[in-house]
């Protein structure tokens, strides 16, 4: 009958109206600044640098300034200057470190290629989306200090990936120690043998496919 469609429509809107007061499935609005959204684990926007020790972030950077990410970055938003000296990294081995590491987030396109190519698991994708500033030049160019965040933070934002990275790094370290021990034993057994290469290079060897 004429008008029955209108009545059905009125019923639908009435259900929505009432439902929005008690049914969370109908009322999905989050009042943003007060209520933060629960981000999906795979959400990413800009990269950050992982450090192993939160109390000394710049001293325990995993980054060794190999500049692979800088070269691979499609929009070329990464700028790295190598240090002239070496500092011990988290495992105590002397390493080159980035004297300057800057990412221009106004250029970054969040492609995650820097993360894919990094052989050291030193750069990962962050989830901070509140990046508005009043200065569109300097404030969007993030330096080393702003980019560095501890591994524990990485665990909070991407738990699955962080657990996998930690397990892999620990296995690598163990394998390297095992190799060094075997090499030391061999060296002790055959004193005439030529000097063995320094043992813990395993980290670099582990990701050959991504190194250029």
């Amino acid at each position: 009958m004429l008008g029955s469609g209108i009545l059905q429509g009125l019923l639908v809107t009435a259900k929505n109206f009432v439902g929005s007061f008690h049914d969370p499935a109908r009322y999905t609005t989050l009042e943003y600044p007060e209520v933060k959204p629960a981000l999906p684990e795979a959400y990413r926007n800009f990269p950050f640098l992982v450090c192993d020790n939160a109390t000394d972030p710049l001293g325990t950077l995993r980054c060794v300034a190999c500049q692979i990410c800088e070269k691979e970055c499609p929009p070329q938003c990464i700028y790295i200057e190598k240090s002239r000296d070496k500092k011990p990294d988290a495992t105590g081995k002397p390493q080159i470190y980035p004297a300057v590491f800057a990412i221009d987030t106004s250029v970054c396109m969040s492609c995650q290629i820097c993360v894919e190519v990094c052989p050291f698991d030193a750069i990962k994708m962050d989830q901070v989306f509140e990046v508005a500033t009043t200065d569109r030049y300097a404030a969007l160019l993030l330096d080393r200090g702003q980019l560095t965040k501890p591994n524990t933070y990485f665990h909070t934002i991407h738990p699955t990936e962080a657990a996998e990275v930690d397990a892999r790094l620990a296995a690598d370290r163990q394998a390297a120690e095992e190799k060094a021990r075997v090499a030391a034993l061999a060296k002790a057994k055959a004193p005439a043998a030529p000097q063995a290469p320094a043992a813990p290079v395993a980290k670099r060897d582990q990701t050959p496919e991504s190194a250029p």
Partner: protein
């Protein structure tokens, strides 16, 4: 007003009149009439101005809830200060007048529209003693004054010197004139049965209860129910509300006749739209829903103006509900609906009401016959007309979608 009735009424019922008399009593005798009228004008302006403000908020909140979002809730507690923030915003915006526009008409159109849409409130009985002007021909005056809004709408469209404004104004004229007819024809049965054009007397005619609990409101008769629905449909179109908001169809005509208006002039158009809506709803309450009358005799201790306000708000919420539900009609559908559906039904309803008032003396089983005939005269034409008009157009099959 009526001194004898005043003494028997409750204090709350007399309160508005007492307040007015206290103020005017301090003035010399010859000024009292003028001061009283001014007070009534101020009361209407303030009351309906505030109603307009909070109606916009209510509309936005309700539309929001129906679309599963909260609606404005940042300005003040629950967004209660939002209308005032909107007002300040409208006042501080730049008032742009197009170079080619007729400056005088462009300025005059919103002013005339608001002024004209306020005229109708003069004759609405808001309560037992609350009517600004008691006219013998109040209904006629109400609709005559309301019709002048069409002039203002066309003024806006013409003066803007903009093709969208002009097209929309022409649409608006076609729509408003087409729906004027069913609007008036749906009122005629009430005048016929009540035998008067005075709004106060029409309300008085709906007083009393049959069986002790069914009020004698016109809406509880077959012709009254049909007339009420027809009146509300025509009122929707008259006040340019969805689904009849063709004159300001955003998707087709930018903003219609409002395209070249900004700042407070734009706000005035909205004010006029809401005033028109309130006035027509108030008229519907007066004509069909028993005006300020209480639904039950036991509830008469609640002041009459509270009942009027409650009924008015229910109708206004109905307007908002319908706006949230229905999509906009096409222009040809609009015209077809008015001329082929509403006008015949209102004419039949007039005949129905005439029969009803002629058979007022029937009692006993004849009363049943009277009701059956009246109900059939409402239902059968509705079904038959609906079937014939929608034949071939529904259900629609989408061959390429």
């Amino acid at each position: 007003m009526i001194a004898a009735a005043l003494t028997t009424d409750s204090f709350l019922e007399r309160l508005p009149v007492l307040a007015r008399d206290t103020v005017t009593g301090r003035l010399p005798e010859s000024w009292r009439w003028m001061a009283g009228s001014l007070l009534e004008i101020i009361a209407i302006l303030a009351g309906f101005g505030l109603l307009f403000a909070y109606l916009t908020l209510a509309e936005r909140k309700i539309l929001g809830r129906i679309q599963n979002r909260p609606g404005p809730n940042r300005t003040g507690w629950f967004g209660l200060l939002q209308p005032f923030a909107d007002g300040v915003k409208a006042l501080t915006k730049e008032d742009v007048v197009p170079a080619g526009a007729d400056r005088v008409l462009h300025f005059l159109a919103p002013v005339v529209l608001v002024a004209v849409s306020l005229l109708g409130f003069a004759v609405l009985p808001f309560g037992r003693h609350l009517v600004a002007v008691e006219l013998d021909t109040a209904v006629l005056y109400f609709f005559a004054a309301g019709t002048a809004t069409e002039l203002a709408v066309f003024m806006a469209g013409w003066a803007s010197h903009n093709k969208y404004s002009l097209l929309a104004a022409m649409r608006a004229l076609a729509q408003l004139i087409s729906y004027e007819l069913p609007l008036l024809l749906s009122v005629v049965p009430v005048v016929l049965v009540a035998g008067t054009l005075s709004t106060t007397k029409i309300v008085a005619a709906q007083g009393g209860w049959s069986l002790g609990f069914v009020p004698h409101w016109h809406v509880f008769t077959p012709w009254g129910a049909a007339g009420f629905v027809l009146f509300m449909v025509a009122a929707l179109a008259e006040s340019n509300r969805s689904p009849f908001d063709l004159p300001e169809a955003e998707s087709e005509l930018i903003a219609g006749h409002l395209t070249e208006y900004s700042g407070f002039k734009y706000a005035l158009f909205f004010m006029a739209e809401y005033f028109g809506m309130c006035a027509l709803s108030g008229m519907a309450v007066t004509l069909f829903l028993g005006g300020w009358g209480a639904p039950l005799a036991q509830l008469e201790w609640i002041p009459s103006y509270a009942w009027f306000t409650a009924k008015l708000l229910v109708l206004l919420l109905g307007f908002i509900w319908i706006r949230a539900t229905l999509p906009r009609l096409r222009l040809d559908q609009l015209m077809k609906f008015a001329w082929k559906f509403l006008v015949p039904l209102t004419l039949l309803n007039l005949a129905n009401a005439a029969g009803w008032s002629l058979t007022a003396g029937w009692t006993g089983p004849l009363q049943l016959v009277r009701w059956a005939v009246a109900l059939a005269l409402v239902a059968v034409p509705f079904v038959v007309l609906g079937r014939t008009l929608s034949a071939g157009s529904a259900p629609r099959t989408y061959r390429f979608a």
